[in-house]
């Protein structure tokens, strides 16, 4: 393998591993605030138990996100030195602001959020939780501004091959940013919703956490059922935006080789990059044109219009189908699940075990859809790193020998696979531990005791 492909594979492995964890923490921070707020409002120990358990999940996910994020800050330089030299005037400030406004905010308040309860007042603690949740969202904002700018660059001028900013407003609100940002935040919420529902279902199947799990299951299913239609709507808008700005990405997603009016929607096909055509097509006539242009005879540009400037077709084509397929499955499961849950009055003993098994099995379905979606958009941008303006091959590290990249790639990959395994195993183990049910009772007892002491003091 040549150095470019290795550098890309290595970066892809890192960024894939990294995105798994922010996808959970972005939304989980806000959901933790919700649980905390419910506990303060209702004084129901189940909410505190839920908060405690999910705080541990948050801490673990956050740690994995931080360490893989540190890795990435180095890899911009080790893998793509030319990118920062050429686009540094735009990428630099955006990444700088991410660290300054978001990364520090999260890391600074995380300690208080995780371990500070009892050392600070309830209000300060809730504020710390807010800052952590807010920080993760702000972080997503800056990263998606940069990513969107690389997809649909705007507000810049190029002098001697180097990008300079002309208008920060246009850079920040570049054409694809609003869609991409909304799409990612919703993806995070859905990933989190299915993780909440899935782990809670597993706890119920194992007879654990009987007080908190039904509540969390309900939260998860409700969030999923409400947000999936929104996500489909936003995804559609995002697709129209991509068609306008990156037609070759759409052509690869739909497997359209030649420009067509009334292009069919391919349910299945085997895109053959050598022969430049599809094999084994199963198609719905005119459907792709209808979805993308909202007109059955709308024109879709084919890949052959962009010789040497379109992405590899098969990975984009397949990743898109995986994402959409998973999204549809999530829609069906969340709606059926919500209605079954409602019918059972959300009482664990009346929830059908089949539903619980399906939900438990889909705990990490959000990961699959999110990663597939990122592959569509990132592989779909190739062969460019800044769409239409800067090619990936031109900014790769040329001074690092390939065996060295191959070695570090192997090390990272082994580590990441081991860590994903450890993460999933430990979540399962944590869910099965009875501890989090006992703790809130202890807290309630302590409160009763404290109240008793206070009352005693008043008497004395």
């Amino acid at each position: 393998m040549d150095a470019l492909l290795l550098a890309r594979a290595q970066f892809a492995a890192n960024i894939t591993f990294h995105i798994l964890f922010p996808t959970i923490t972005i939304a989980l921070g806000w959901l933790l605030m919700f649980m905390r707020w419910r506990w303060l409002r209702t004084q129901d120990g189940a909410w505190l138990a839920a908060y405690r358990f999910w705080t541990k999940v948050f801490a673990l996910s956050f740690a994995l996100g931080v360490v893989s994020g540190i890795t990435m800050s180095f890899q911009f330089g080790t893998n793509w030195p030319g990118f920062m030299e050429k686009a540094g005037n735009i990428a630099g400030p955006l990444l700088g602001y991410e660290v300054l406004t978001a990364f520090f905010l999260e890391a600074g308040f995380l300690g208080i959020m995780l371990f500070g309860h009892g050392r600070v007042s309830e209000r300060v603690h809730l504020m710390a939780t807010f800052f952590v949740a807010f920080g993760t969202t702000v972080s997503a904002f800056w990263i998606l501004v940069l990513n969107s700018w690389m997809q649909t660059p705007a507000g810049h001028e190029i002098v001697d091959g180097v990008f300079h900013v002309k208008d920060w407003g246009e850079v920040l609100l570049n054409p694809s940013f609003p869609y991409r940002f909304a799409h990612m935040l919703l993806a995070s919420a859905l990933t989190c919703a299915f993780l909440l529902a899935g782990l809670s279902a597993w706890q119920l199947l194992r007879g654990k956490a009987e007080r908190s799990a039904p509540k969390v299951l309900r939260v998860g299913l409700t969030v999923a059922a409400v947000l999936i239609p929104v996500q489909i709507f936003v995804g559609d808008l995002h697709g129209l935006n991509t068609l306008e700005h990156q037609p070759q990405k759409i052509a690869a997603m739909e497997g359209v080789w030649n420009t067509e009016k009334g292009a069919p929607l391919l349910l299945f096909a085997w895109p053959d990059g050598e022969a430049r055509k599809n094999r084994f097509e199963v198609a719905i006539p005119k459907m792709a044109s209808f979805i993308l242009t909202h007109d059955v005879d709308g024109e879709i540009k084919g890949l052959n219009e962009f010789p040497d400037a379109h992405p590899p077709v098969a990975p984009v084509f397949w990743a898109f189908r995986v994402m959409v397929g998973m999204g549809m499955l999530m829609l069906a499961v969340s709606w059926v699940g919500w209605f079954l849950g409602r019918r059972a009055g959300w009482r664990p003993e009346r929830l059908p075990p089949t539903l619980l098994w399906v939900l438990a099995g889909m705990s990490f379905s959000g990961w699959v859809a999110t990663v597939a979606g990122w592959y569509v958009t990132e592989i779909g941008r190739q062969p460019y790193i800044v769409y239409g303006l800067l090619r990936t091959a031109d900014v790769a590290a040329t001074t690092v020998p390939s065996p060295m990249i191959a070695l570090s790639f192997a090390l990272y990959l082994t580590l990441y696979i081991a860590l994903i395994f450890a993460y999933v195993t430990v979540l399962k183990y944590m869910a099965e531990k009875p501890e989090d049910v006992l703790q809130p009772n202890a807290v309630e007892a302590a409160q009763a005791h404290a109240a008793g002491v206070l009352a005693g003091e008043e008497r004395a």
Partner: protein, 332 residues
């Protein structure tokens, strides 16, 4: 100097400051990691508890330092990181291992805990060794072609973990009590001698390895003024060793060794900065050659002026919340 020409200097100072804060703050928690294998299982929990609320924010300073290198000096970032490709990879793997081990050890099954503790130690060691190696390579301006360069880098690679362990032991003297504090005093005594020998050798070897550094330090009258740095460092180290034998270090003055060592790190940093400025890569690239456009730097500077005071404020707040002796950490 015009403001545009001063911008790279400001960013060099910021980057240096971030790296200094990183080395001191992650230094003590890496040091605690290096001492893990010497503690009993119960003591290990206290060791972890003493750094638990902080390690995350500590590592963020590394991201800021590298971030500034990346955004303010993109040419240097490419040069430095491709030169240090392998040690950077090893350091990152070390940091990943210890970061996750830290969280996994309390959440995994109890029979897996010793494995995560070992990984925590291994990660801390790999990260410290690689950082020392990188520092050695950086000081020599990535010199190659002589046997002296790798030996120099290897010496620093060994000295830095010792310095971290000493700093970590001093942190534990401050944050623990009783038998564990007694042990920490003992660990500090053990680490003291290698650190002093290492610092002495490196101070002598640096002028020998780099002509630029030699000229900077050994010309009259600068050499007389500059003697303040090594002399103060020596005094701080000697005082540290003396207080370690006194009973008061277990009580009212438990913070003194840590503060003295922080001073030693700061002095070393000042010496290094004096040796290198105005280069970002010694003898190869000055900060002006490597800097981004003034327009981009100004945009970042605005963010820095607003956010760095805020970061300082909530970091101080967090340290105040967890002030005093370390107690058991509980999620709540």
């Amino acid at each position: 100097m015009s403001f545009d020409a001063a911008l790279p200097v400001i960013f060099m100072a910021l980057m240096g400051l971030s790296m200094l804060i990183y080395v001191i703050s992650d230094g003590y928690d890496l040091g605690v990691g290096l001492l893990m294998h010497r503690a009993t299982p119960e003591e290990k929990d206290v060791l972890i508890a003493s750094i638990g609320p902080f390690w995350d924010a500590n590592e963020t300073w590394l991201v800021l330092g590298v971030g500034i290198l990346l955004v303010a000096f993109p040419k240097a970032h490419g040069l430095v990181l491709t030169q240090l490709y392998l040690p950077v990879t090893l350091m990152l793997i070390g940091l990943i291992l210890r970061g996750v081990a830290f969280d996994f050890r309390v959440k995994a099954k109890s029979d897996a805990k010793p494995m995560w503790d070992r990984l925590f130690f291994a990660g801390s060691m790999i990260a410290s060794l690689s950082q020392g190696w990188m520092l050695g390579r950086y000081i020599s301006g990535f010199g190659d072609g002589g046997w002296n360069y790798p030996v120099f880098a290897a010496a620093i690679a060994l000295a830095l973990p010792a310095a971290y362990a000493l700093l970590g032991a001093a942190w534990l003297i401050m944050k623990t009590e009783g038998a564990l504090q007694e042990k920490a005093v003992h660990w500090a005594r053990l680490a003291w001698a290698p650190v002093v020998v290492g610092m002495l050798l490196i101070s002598l070897a640096t002028p020998w390895i780099s002509e630029t550094v030699r000229e900077r330090w050994f010309t009259l009258p600068a050499v007389i003024a500059l003697m303040v740095i090594p002399v103060t460092t020596a005094i701080a180290l000697v005082v540290t060793r003396v207080v370690l034998d006194k009973a008061i270090v277990r009580g009212a003055l438990c913070w003194l060794p840590f503060v003295l060592l922080v001073a030693v790190f700061c002095l070393g940093f000042v010496g290094l900065a004096y040796s290198i400025y105005p280069y970002v890569v010694i003898d190869r690239l000055t900060i002006w050659q490597a800097a981004s456009s003034p327009a981009a730097l100004k945009v970042i500077l605005v963010g820095v002026c607003i956010s760095v005071p805020a970061i300082a404020a909530y970091t101080v707040f967090s340290y105040r919340v967890f002030w005093g002796k370390a107690t058991e950490l509980r999620y709540g």
